[in-house]
């Protein structure tokens, strides 16, 4: 029997809920951009295919929103139930963006409701399109605000804390802390990237299966264009995130890179394994790359884990998460780049199965990168819940029933996951593309 430890179970439960929520949150923040683009192009070019595209994407989006809403509600209540001491401290210091976030939800929810039920209610087509802007802004704003909260947990500023007493709180400073710029932009860029790749993946799959309606090609082209733009920006901002870590949270970067000794011209370690003496074997080593990631200069000094007491080290498994994220990031950028070259040179042909397969894989991989990125960011913060201020173990509930709750919630998520798949299948089976096209008066 494992001994009951509320802290451990609380961590697992939080990670499970957030890992599940982030799937829908990422889509919820990202998809409105794609729908808006499709509807806009449709109006501009007077091309009904894009109109149908926007409608079909919306059908899937709404299911994802529903699950985003309920899992988001779950995590926000859970934060108080599992981390009462943390939430008390957070209430004093970082409540502002949490509160702002609810306004963003409100705004999004209201206009999404209107958008969904007014496809043909306005005379001007632009009027309906304009309703999507608040949805897009609301989704983006909620991702923005919640990311500042998470940024605060990584680099808390804007208050004094002595002997358990908080003074001199400055909510604006707490919100715009050093982690905010890279965190917020990386999270948002990766949401758009992921949403675009998921849609590209679906379009590519249809083409792969031999459905060569021009509709699918338009869908693919639109989503791959968005994907390329955000694959590049995600990678660039990711590089800046590395520089942020090197300066403000060096232990996280060191753990992600298995970088034990402080040195100049540091080597980047890819993959590999560790023995009990922290000796690295079978890794791919790229000289100077870590110094470049951390400071942009090959000879720069990178702080190693040796500078921190061992009990303050983050778990070293985050190394693999980091590898996954970066590898997938490179892969996505490469795939969208190749697609573009082929498109541009006119050599694109829809029978190019290898490229199609790579695009199909890209959707799920992007989501995997999101998960890997968050797990690396969150576990890399351990043992702190608010870095340098409050330890995770001090923050947790002392309740005796967290394990039972964990089981209940896992059950809930499994049921939800299965239901989503079933419902999405039914929705698109009941209204196949041909039917939707016909409704709009095209073949």
């Amino acid at each position: 029997m494992v001994e009951y430890d509320p802290v451990l179970y609380s961590r697992i439960l939080t990670g499970t809920t957030l890992g599940f929520h982030t799937i829908f949150a990422t889509l919820g923040a990202g998809i409105p951009l794609l729908i808006a683009l499709a509807e806009w192009i449709g109006i501009k070019r007077n091309d009904l295919h894009y109109h149908v595209l926007a409608r079909r994407w919306t059908k899937g989006y709404i299911i994802s929103v529903a699950v985003g809403v309920v899992t988001g509600t779950a995590i926000s209540l859970q934060l108080s139930l599992l981390w009462p001491n943390f939430m008390e401290a957070a209430g004093h210091t970082i409540a502002l963006p949490l509160f702002l976030e609810t306004f963003a939800f409100f705004f999004e929810a209201i206009f999404l409701g209107i958008y969904l039920y007014t496809w043909n209610r306005f005379k001007s087509k632009y009027a309906h399109f304009l309703l999507l802007l608040p949805v897009f802004i609301g989704g983006g704003a909620s991702a923005f605000f919640i990311s500042t909260v998470n940024a605060f947990m990584n680099s808390p500023i804007g208050f004094n804390y002595e002997n358990g007493i908080l003074t001199n709180v400055n909510p604006i400073m707490a919100m715009f802390n050093p982690a905010t710029p890279t965190k917020v932009t990386h999270v948002m860029a990766s949401s758009y990237l992921t949403a675009a790749f998921i849609f590209a993946s679906i379009a590519a799959f249809s083409i792969y299966r031999g459905r060569n309606h021009v509709y699918h090609k338009k869908a693919l082209k639109l989503s791959m264009t968005v994907a390329l733009a955000f694959a590049i920006s995600t990678a660039l901002i990711g590089d800046l995130s590395g520089k942020f870590l090197a300066q403000y949270q060096p232990e996280k970067l060191a753990a992600a890179e298995w970088h034990f000794e402080t040195e100049k011209g540091a080597t980047l370690i890819f993959a590999g394994s560790l023995d009990e003496n922290n000796k690295i074997s079978q890794a791919i080593e790229i000289p100077y790359a870590l110094s470049i990631l951390a400071h942009g200069i090959p000879g720069a000094e990178v702080i190693g884990l040796e500078e921190f007491p061992e009990e303050d080290w983050p778990p070293l498994i985050v190394h693999y998460y980091f590898d996954w994220m970066v590898t997938i990031g490179m892969f996505l950028a490469l795939v969208s780049f190749v697609y573009f070259c082929m498109q541009y040179r006119g050599k694109w042909n829809e029978c190019n199965k290898p490229l199609l397969s790579a695009i199909i894989a890209g959707g799920p991989l992007a989501m995997l990168a999101i998960e890997a990125g968050w797990f690396m960011a969150e576990q890399g913060r351990q043992p702190w819940i608010i870095r340098g201020v409050m330890r995770t173990a001090e923050a947790a509930t002392t309740s005796n029933h967290v394990d039972t709750m964990l089981i209940l919630f896992i059950l809930l998520y499994v049921i939800l996951a299965i239901s989503i798949v079933i419902v999405l299948k039914r929705v698109f089976k009941a209204s196949p593309l041909e039917k939707d096209l016909k409704k709009q008066g095209i073949e």
Partner: protein, 337 residues
């Protein structure tokens, strides 16, 4: 007005908003299921669906708003209630999750299955029951602090008369508020068949509502005398509340001015709700936590209040637009749009 009082008033207003919109929603879910097993489903569903579809997500946000605001203005709440309410809180969360997602699955999916309606209907009654325990617990004598450890006495909670009367009131109110609103909505839609059915529901839930309210009054006097005497000092509010109740029922009986009758229902609950809340002050949790010792720092309070005002400026026009398009638009309500 002090910041503390301003903060709690704002939050209480949002909770009131949640109670009204969520009751309509929860009750509608129940009637939806109930009518489908009694064979009257097709008549009533159209009215219910037309109203609920565009607004369900907004309902949920009211709750989040209240909760997040509470943590922001009174961070110590997280400590006291968070530690003790793990089980009821988690159960309420799961119920909310099931309800929200199955509503969406049911509604946006092509096949309408009976069992999703059941889930949707049943959770609609269980959620108010489980959420109302938070108010019950706030009355004290269930939560204890020993050597800095906070704990909840479950046995006391589940065996006390007071906590059951609150649960009953919560459920009955949900059905009453919802039926009154849907009666008005059906009338507006000109759907006379649905109107007659829903009006019957509204009338039959009116008496239980008032009985349950008296029961709660009675049991509070036993459970928490201090709160009860505070309520007696505000008895004019409760008298007004009862008068609005009579007015609402009268109009529904007469089938006249149903819009006004629903406003009466809202006023009935407003007076009772604010009366209860005002008498509860200054305590957030008897006798451990008051709005004064649990309050956030001044900088945060000001930031939150500014946000709130700015947010309202954005929200009120948007909500107005939503109402215009779906609730107060005759053409939409009647199914012409």
């Amino acid at each position: 007005m002090s910041y503390e009082l301003l903060g709690i008033t704002v939050l209480w207003t949002f909770l009131y908003g949640y109670v009204i919109v969520a009751s309509i929603d929860f009750g509608a879910g129940f009637f939806n299921y109930y009518t489908s097993i009694t064979g009257k489903g097709p008549i009533v569903h159209k009215v219910i669906d037309r109203y609920l579809s565009p607004v369900w997500e907004v309902t949920n946000v009211f709750l989040i708003f209240f909760y997040v605001g509470l943590i922001g203005f009174f961070p110590s709440i997280a400590y006291y209630y968070g530690t003790t309410l793990l089980i009821p809180g988690s159960i309420a969360t799961i119920l909310i999750a099931i309800r929200g997602s199955y509503y969406a699955f049911h509604h946006y999916g092509p096949k309408k299955a009976r069992w999703t309606q059941f889930l949707y209907g049943a959770t609609g009654l269980l959620i108010p029951a489980s959420l109302s325990t938070v108010l019950t617990v706030s009355e004290g004598k269930y939560i204890f602090v020993n050597n800095g450890n906070v704990s909840l006495d479950y046995r006391e909670l589940f065996t006390s008369f007071y906590s059951w009367t609150v649960i009953i009131l919560a459920i009955v109110s949900v059905l009453y508020i919802s039926a009154c609103f849907l009666t008005y909505y059906a009338h507006k839609a000109g759907d006379m068949e649905a109107f007659h059915i829903l009006r019957k529901y509204a009338l039959s839930w009116s008496l239980p509502t008032i009985l349950a309210s008296f029961l709660v009054f009675l049991s509070i006097s036993h459970h928490n005398w201090e709160h009860f005497s505070g309520m007696l000092d505000l008895s004019w509010m409760f008298i007004l509340s009862s008068l609005f109740f009579l007015g609402a029922v009268f109009l529904i009986l007469k089938k006249q001015r149903l819009g006004l009758s629903f406003i009466f229902v809202m006023l009935q609950y407003a007076f009772a709700f604010y009366g209860y809340g005002a008498a509860h002050l200054p305590y957030l949790l008897y006798p451990y936590l008051s709005i004064y010792d649990g309050f956030t720092n001044e900088a945060m309070a000001i930031a939150l209040i500014i946000t709130f005002v700015a947010g309202l400026l954005l929200l009120i026009p948007s909500l107005y637009l939503l109402m215009r398009l779906f609730v107060f638009s005759n053409q939409y309500v009647q199914g012409k749009k």
